[in-house]
């Protein structure tokens, strides 16, 4: 329950952090909020020789509108996401999703960048990012690249982030006015990881779907984009038949682990239910003009 020994570094600038990562090599890990990594280290599931704490780098925090995107610094805490008037107004799906992450104490320290980079399929932000069609700015010794959330999550604890790179910023295209949204998370208690969760961003044109993004949490080794369900829904009305078929298509890509939250069949069935609820709730919020 005590981590193995390590050296601790707290650079003050991003450039210093990148240089440090390069110098220290593969036995160094980044410390963001620490609420995924430190619990692993306490169980000795991770034993990095070095921790590079990003907590003293101010340029990694902040939420701003830049053109028709929202840019969020990777070290912005869940607590700050919840308090943001800008996000409440422009990207309410992110606020609703964040409100179901863990508990108040964890949200004071946990960061959106850490939640995304850790690669834990139980984390909530990846599915939200998939539904929002977000992109991530990654900075390393060879410069910066921007990659889409779709394709970023490769497997258990595995993402496109290369050794020596730091996820610095999350970029979210502003949902069009009148877009509906919902994050439905089934959990054993408030604060638990999802038994199954679905994020939906839904734009209607009249009575038919113009555009829809659907992300699934904790139903596979990574968050999933329910592409078939999305493609099916475009041009359709959100009626009972569409909800049932979209839920079935979402369920068809699930591959959840059996654990204390349920067996695979149960979790998959709950994916169907959460998808149905998220679509219905997003539809109720969407403007139909």
């Amino acid at each position: 329950m005590i981590p193995a020994g390590f050296d601790y570094h707290a650079p003050r600038t991003l450039a210093d952090a990148i240089k440090l990562l390069g110098d220290l090599g593969p036995d160094a890990r980044l410390l963001a909020g620490g609420h995924s990594l430190l619990p692993m280290m306490k169980l000795r599931f991770a034993e990095p020789a070095h921790l590079v704490d990003l907590g003293k780098i101010p340029e990694l925090r902040g939420i701003a509108q830049v053109g028709n995107e929202i840019h969020i610094g990777a070290m912005t805490t869940e607590h700050d996401l919840l308090r943001s008037a800008l996000l409440a107004e422009k990207v309410p799906l992110l606020v609703e999703g964040t409100s179901w992450i863990a508990d108040p104490q964890v949200r004071y320290k946990g960061t959106i960048g850490g939640d995304i980079s850790h690669g834990d399929p139980g984390n909530d932000h990846p599915a939200l990012m998939l539904a929002l069609d977000a992109s991530f700015a990654l900075k390393g010794p060879r410069g910066e690249r921007v990659v889409k959330a779709d394709g970023y999550f490769l497997g258990l604890y595995s993402t496109l982030l290369e050794p020596g790179e730091i996820l610095t910023q999350i970029r979210i295209p502003l949902p069009a006015a009148g877009t509906g949204w919902s994050y439905q998370k089934l959990k054993r208690k408030t604060g638990d990881f999802a038994t199954a969760a679905t994020a939906v961003l839904l734009q209607m044109k009249g009575n038919s779907v113009a555009k829809v993004g659907i992300g699934l949490t904790n139903l596979a080794p990574t968050a999933l984009k329910a592409r078939a369900a999305e493609d099916y829904l475009v041009g359709k009305a959100i009626d009972e038949r569409a909800l049932t078929e979209a839920a079935r298509l979402a369920m068809s890509i699930c591959d959840p682990m059996q654990d204390q939250r349920g067996d695979a069949a149960y979790k998959t069935a709950m994916c169907g239910e959460m998808t149905r609820r998220a679509l219905a709730a997003a539809h109720a919020r969407a403007s139909k003009s």
Partner: protein, 164 residues
């Protein structure tokens, strides 16, 4: 012994310092080096919140923070709630409303409730239940904890109104 750091911070208004390895968790420093055993270790998996303290205006689970991260910080623990022999309104309310049985979760509950009321001085029952969702209690069923927080909120609001 591995490399150690001297970490200095304010604990309940007093300057303190400790020499720690980077891997030392704040909860161990508080309990074992600084003799502040009010905060408890309940789960070791960041779930239970019995270790909750207040760091720089944030409720934090001290079992999931490194002491080296707290250099220069302002810490409040349950020991710091009482002022000059007078119980904090929350402590008084937990006593009056029977908001504890074994008392193991109580320091974490009090320290979290303190910050909760700073965030939201007039919380609804739902706000309180959501607001303490990081603190587990095996004894009480939470009902009297909620009542205690409500009672303290009323008292603190009334005191603030009188002072204004």
């Amino acid at each position: 012994m591995a490399k150690t750091y001297k970490v200095a911070f304010k604990l309940n208004g007093k300057d303190v310092a400790a020499e720690v390895e980077p891997r030392e968790l704040l909860i161990y420093t508080l309990r074992e080096k600084l003799a502040h055993t009010g905060s408890h270790i309940g789960c070791e998996t960041t779930h239970c919140g019995a270790c909750t303290v207040d760091v720089d205006g944030m409720s934090v689970k001290a079992c999931t923070v490194l002491t080296v991260q707290c250099d220069g910080s302002q810490l409040l623990t349950v020991e710091g709630l009482e002022q000059g022999g007078v119980l904090h309104a929350l402590q008084q309310a937990f006593h009056e409303e029977h908001g504890l049985q074994c008392g193991y979760c109580t320091p974490g509950m009090l320290t979290r409730a303190y910050r909760l009321l700073q965030e939201n001085p007039n919380p609804t029952e739902h706000d309180i239940r959501y607001g303490i969702s990081g603190n587990l209690c095996r004894c009480t069923g939470y009902q009297n904890i909620v009542k205690a927080v409500q009672s303290a909120a009323r008292k603190l609001t009334a005191t603030a109104a009188k002072a204004a």
